[in-house]
């Protein structure tokens, strides 16, 4: 009898459902149970670099804002270093690089404050343009959706980014670019995510 492969199989995904907030962001959902809520401060007070705010909507195939989403962000610091033991380099004290937000139950708007990440070395010595990795879960989403947010004022770096350039349909690349605006002296990047349709955001199988 031939040999067997002894690998285990990954646990299958299931939707996070409509009440994901009570489990993963109870404080944001108005439910006071933990002393400390995780994921509310991505960069910490000591992070260097440009302070920015990301804002957006998640929009379904009908064009309606999705009001029960949870998003997680994972990013490098301004020097392009991830707060992880396998990534060479040091990050500022208190810089975690990870955050978690939920949408407003009425409007569907979400947003988070952070610092703009620096470029990170990619595969084969190719530099990646600054980006924030996003993971989106909600009722109706069976497996969390991965995407990347790039910045509209990084045209030169975006043009040679190896991941953006993997997208054969050039017209879809713009769905990953957050648009920079300034409001009352604050720097805002607008990033609407379209789950389905003609302007559908590019999602990755990472």
């Amino acid at each position: 009898m031939r040999q067997k492969l002894e690998y285990l199989k990954e646990t299958p995904s299931q939707t996070a459902g409509p009440f994901v907030h009570i489990g993963l962001a109870p404080g944001a959902a108005g439910f006071d149970i933990y002393e400390q809520e995780l994921g509310t401060d991505i960069a910490g007070p000591n992070a260097t670099g440009e302070r920015i705010r990301i804002e957006g909507l998640v929009i379904d195939g009908i064009g309606s804002p999705v009001k029960d989403v949870m998003l997680e962000a994972w990013q490098a610091n301004a020097a392009g270093i991830y707060a992880h033991p396998e990534h060479p380099g040091e990050v500022e004290e208190g810089f975690r690089g990870w955050g978690r937000v939920i949408t407003d139950f009425d409007s569907g708007e979400w947003g988070f404050d952070t610092v703009k990440p620096g470029p990170v070395m990619g595969r084969n010595g190719q530099m990646m343009a600054p980006h924030i990795n996003l993971w989106i879960v909600a009722r109706g989403i069976n497996v969390g959706l991965n995407t990347r947010l790039y910045f509209s004022d990084e045209d030169v770096a975006n043009a040679t980014d190896p991941v953006i350039n993997l997208i054969e349909w050039e017209r879809r690349r713009k769905t990953l670019i957050a648009q920079r605006v300034e409001r009352d002296g604050a720097i805002i990047y607008r990033f609407d995510i379209r789950l389905q349709g003609d302007d559908e955001t590019v999602f990755f199988d990472i």
Binding site: K9, E10, Q14, G17, F19, L24, I33, Y34, R123, G140
Partner: protein, 242 residues
Amino acid sequence: MPKQGEFYQRDRERHPPALDRDYKTSVARSPKYSLISLENTASEITGPVFGHNDIAPTDNDLLTNYAQAGQAPVGERIIVHGRVLDENARPVPNTLVEIWQANASGKYRHKKDNYLGAMDPNFGGCGRTLTDENGYYYFRTVKPGAYPWRNWVNNWRPAHIHISVFGTGFAQRLITQLYFEGDPLIEKCPIVKTIPDPDAIQQLIAVLDMNASIPLDTLAYKFDIVLRGRRSTLFENRLEGN
């Protein structure tokens, strides 16, 4: 051990597809275009690190973490325990496991839940813990009740606990649901059946574990979680600059 490389690719046939018309909400919330496959970079191989400063030691005890002093939630007292492993069967230590669930009536402590089932003043319904050095975790809680939901007019979710796990890299990020051995609602549930592979569904069913039960106190269920494994960079090392 050789340096760890990229994660094994996710077996998408083991996971639900984005679109399953029997789970109605997925119809307008599933991408129409294919996912773009990405070889791992530092962005996918790294992920957030959590420590004991982030959580309280009692956060894994849902019997007490919302109960008023001297009181306890109503319901079947259970331990849910198991290990977080990767596809190479290596334990995943110090990783964050978070859970949330309805109470014994099938009612969530959430303002959007308008089910008739009674709220329990001594039950919050969420918990979190870090796996130990062997990848082991446990929670104490009450067994959640089934509850109805608007999909077909008479759909009921089997008793379930939502589980969120991190692993070491953002590519391992996973949310799933734990079901209980013997529940006849499992095979009727459109959310369970988004998973096309019957063997994969079995992996979501926690088994009664009498050995871990505490006599005259608490029953136990065992539920192991498997995250994506990683290749060694023995034969191929193209993650230069990582």
